[in-house]
C-alpha cells in the first residue's frame, strides 16, 4: 500500500504532448484522480508520435505516451462543439484543478479559458503550462522543450564547447518537459494548500522557458553579476588543470570514471590506494592538497595510467569504498540495473496494453514514507468516457445524446 498524498484531489487535464501531461502523471503517482480529456477521434497528438530518435514505437507499448500519462483516465470530448464544452463544464464543477497547455487563442475559441472554467467552478485552481509564459508579446506562440527549454534559454549554448561547429542537441526526448512537468505539479500542490488555508483558488503558470531558467539559475546569476559566461569544455581524459581529483578518466574498455572530489583533504590516501598506487600518497608532491594542486599534471598522469589498466565494471565496483566523490559514467541501460536506483524504487511497472510483459516506467521524483509507487498503465483514448460521466452523476440518456451528436466518444 503506497501513501497517496493527493487522494481525493480531482484534476481535469486538457493537455497534449509531455510537459503539462507530465504534471498530471506526477499528481497521479501521488494519488490524484486525473481525468485526461482527449479529442474523440484523434486523441492526444502524442499518441501519433511513434518515431523518436530513430526508434519506432508500438502504439500499444508507447513509452513516450506511458511516461506522462500513467495512472490517468481518458475521456473523449470534442471541445470545439458547444455540447462538448457543456460536458467539460459538468466535469469542471467536480474537479479541484484544471490543467492545460492549450494556447490562449484556442482556450478562448473553445471556451475553456480561466473565465469559462471559473464560471462553472469558481473554486477551481487553473494551471497553465506554456512555451514562453502567459504574458508578453509571444504568449500565443507554442513550442517544445527542444525549442524553449533547450535552445532559447541559453542551455544549448552553454552545454556546447565553443570548439564544436554547432550546438549540442537536447539528446534526451522530453528532458525539459519532464523537469518542467514536476515544477507544475509542485505549483499545483502549493496552490491546493493555499486554497485549503485561505479559500482562494489561484491561477498558476509554468513555462518551458522559466523551467530552463530556473535549472540554469546558478550560472544565470553569475552572468548577471560578473558578465562572465562559462561553457562546457571539450570532453577529454585526465584531471582538471588545478585539481587532478576532478576529471574524467578512461578505463581499459573505453568506459569513463568521473572524479569530482572538489576538496581532496582526507581523500588523497584513499584514492591512491584504490587505484593501486598507495606510495603516491606518501609522495610530498601529492600528500597534501596544496602540493597536489601544484603538481596536478603529474598526479593526473598517474591516475590516467591506473584507470586505463582495468575495465569499467572493475572500477564501478572497486571504487564503492573510495571515500571521495566520484561516479561511473553510466548509460540508462546501467541505471535500470543500478542497485541504488532499484533500492529506492525509482522504477515502477505497469501492465502492457497489449497483454504482454509489463512496462518499466520511472516514478515521480518524490517518495512518500519510503514507499514504492503503485500506479496503472496509461489509458486508451476515450477509455473511460462513460464510466467517468456516470460517476459524475450524468444520466445515460444524456450520455447517449452527447454520443449521438459527436460531442463525446
Amino acid at each position: 500500500m503506497s501513501t497517496k498524498v493527493m487522494q481525493g484531489v480531482r484534476v481535469l487535464e486538457v493537455a497534449q504532448f509531455t510537459f503539462t501531461p507530465a504534471a498530471g502523471a506526477v499528481l497521479a503517482d501521488w494519488g490524484a484522480d486525473v481525468i485526461k480529456i482527449e479529442h474523440p477521434v484523434r486523441g492526444d497528438t502524442q499518441r501519433g508520435f511513434l518515431n523518436m530518435g530513430g526508434v519506432t514505437l508500438d502504439p500499444l507499448r508507447h513509452t513516450l505516451f506511458e511516461h506522462p500519462n500513467r495512472g490517468k483516465r481518458s475521456v473523449g470530448i470534442d471541445l470545439s462543439t458547444p455540447e462538448g464544452q457543456d460536458v467539460l463544464y459538468e466535469l469542471a464543477k467536480q474537479c479541484d484543478v484544471f490543467l492545460t497547455n492549450y494556447l490562449p487563442q484556442v482556450r478562448q475559441k473553445n471556451k475553456f479559458d480561466v473565465e469559462h472554467i471559473r464560471a462553472a467552478n469558481p473554486n477551481i485552481i487553473y494551471a497553465r503550462g506554456s512555451a514562453l509564459g502567459n504574458k508578453g508579446p509571444e504568449r500565443e506562440v507554442g513550442g517544445f522543450d527542444g525549442t524553449c527549454f533547450w535552445s532559447r534559454s541559453g542551455i544549448a549554448y552553454s552545454m556546447t564547447p565553443e570548439e564544436l561547429p554547432g550546438p549540442i542537441s537536447q539528446g534526451i526526448p522530453a528532458f525539459g518537459d519532464s523537469i518542467g512537468g514536476m515544477f507544475i505539479a509542485g505549483g499545483i500542490s502549493a496552490a491546493l494548500f493555499h486554497r485549503e488555508k485561505t479559500g482562494e483558488a489561484v491561477e498558476l503558470d509554468v513555462s518551458l522557458l522559466s523551467a530552463a531558467a530556473w535549472a540554469s539559475g546558478a550560472v544565470i546569476a553569475q552572468v548577471a553579476e560578473t558578465g562572465i559566461l562559462t561553457r562546457n569544455p571539450m570532453p577529454g581524459s585526465g584531471g582538471a588543470a588545478r585539481n587532478p581529483f576532478m576529471g574524467n578518466y578512461q578505463t581499459s574498455d573505453n568506459g569513463t570514471i568521473n572524479l569530482c572530489t572538489i576538496s581532496p583533504t582526507g581523500h588523497i590516501r584513499s584514492l591512491f590506494e584504490h587505484i593501486g598506487v598507495p606510495e603516491a600518497a606518501d609522495d610530498p608532491r601529492f600528500s597534501e592538497p596544496r602540493a597536489l594542486f601544484e603538481n596536478a599534471g603529474a598526479a593526473s598522469d598517474i591516475l590516467m595510467k591506473a584507470f586505463a589498466s582495468q575495465p569499467f565494471e572493475y572500477w564501478r565496483q572497486h571504487l564503492k569504498t573510495f571515500s571521495g566523490q566520484w561516479a561511473p559514467i553510466q548509460s540508462f541501460h546501467e541505471l535500470l540495473t543500478d542497485e541504488q536506483a532499484l533500492a529506492n524504487d525509482m522504477i515502477v511497472e505497469v501492465e502492457g496494453a497489449d497483454g504482454g510483459a509489463p512496462l518499466k516506467l520511472v516514478r515521480g521524483p518524490v517518495q512518500w514514507n519510503g514507499e514504492a509507487v503503485e500506479t496503472t498503465r496509461s489509458p486508451q483514448a476515450s477509455e473511460h468516457t462513460e464510466i467517468v460521466l456516470m460517476e459524475m452523476g450524468v444520466e445515460w440518456d444524456r450520455i447517449e445524446e452527447w454520443k449521438a451528436s459527436g460531442a463525446i466518444a
Partner: protein, 121 residues
Amino acid sequence: MEGQRRDRLSAHPNKTHAREDKEPEMKPGTRLKSAACDTEVMVIRAADGQIECGGAPMGEAKPADPAPLAADFSAGTLMGKRYVDTDGKYELLCVKPGKGSLAVDGQALVVKDAKPLPASD
C-alpha cells in the same frame, strides 16, 4: 452444451423482459462475460443481435463449463479498447482482456482506434 447456452440466454434479464413482437436493445452499461475466455465487456451501444466472444454467446454470468474457443474468433481482446460494428449499432468496451475475439451474430467487430495526427522527431 446447446442446452446450457439456451439456459444462459433465457436467464438474461433483457431477454426475459422481451415483448413478443420485438426484443428491446441490451441495456447500456451491462457487463457481459465471455463463455470461452477471460474477456469481459461493458455494453456501450447495442441492438438486438447476439453478442459473442470466442464464437460463443456472452452473458452476464459465466457458465460453469467453458465453451470451446472457436479458431475463427481467437484473435484476442485488448483491455480498454472499444469494439464496434461497421453500421455503428454496437459498441463494446473491453474491461478485461481474453483470448477470444468479439462478434455479433457471427460478424467480427473491429477495434475503434484513435486516429492520431502524424508526429515524428
